[in-house]
Symmetry: C2
Subunit: 121 residues, 2 copies
């Protein structure tokens, strides 16, 4: 039933306060996964190339430090948007990929883009 939620049903649920803010609001949860200075930019790079290596990400994202790239990736991984595969070679080799969960999010970004093209100067 949830999967087939119509737009009209959704607006009614909002008004009925079905999505309280106490951890039950999907929009709040998703926004929190994308908070911070670097998260979306990392996802953006992985939309272009996935899997992608740690060093490649750092090179493509101007200004990011090891510390921030690592912590951002760890959080995205914890939220299930990104997966990490480590190859135990010398030299070490790690690949990050978008998960299906993240890929299913692309239409949302598409909708955001269409909105932005109309409403952002």
């Amino acid at each position: 039933m949830n999967e087939n939620l119509t737009y009209e049903e959704w607006t009614q649920r909002v008004k009925d306060r079905i999505y309280t803010e106490a951890g039950n609001c999907p929009v709040t949860s998703l926004l929190s996964m994308l908070q911070g200075k670097w998260k979306f930019q990392i996802i953006y790079e992985m939309c272009i190339q996935s899997p992608i290596r740690f060093g490649e990400l750092r090179k493509n994202i101007e200004g990011i430090t090891n510390t921030m790239l690592t912590s951002s990736l760890r959080e995205l991984e914890k939220d299930g948007l990104v997966s990490r595969i480590q190859f135990n070679e010398i030299p070490p080799h790690v690949e990050y990929s978008l998960t299906e969960k993240k890929t299913a999010l692309l239409p949302v970004f598409y909708a955001m883009t269409k909105w932005g093209l109309t409403y952002i100067p």
Copy 2:
């Protein structure tokens, strides 16, 4: 042309780096408008009731302080998502409303909700 951008055209634009991160990415811009602890919750309340008064918002949003409510509303106003009308009466009376720009964003939140219902545990 931008308004009729198809999903396929959009994914291609991403790969072509049309939306660089230097202020040209609509998703990044929109996400920045929704950053912070209280912004979405304020918008949520205004989806339920609009126009709504300052005191009503403060009452409905548990834990928010005058300071944060004011600064969040000012930023939402600056970004054009919320409008403010002041009635010069005694006692003072101010009404906040969602703008058309914000209302056009509702389908985006709907898409985010549908995603969340499937992918957030």
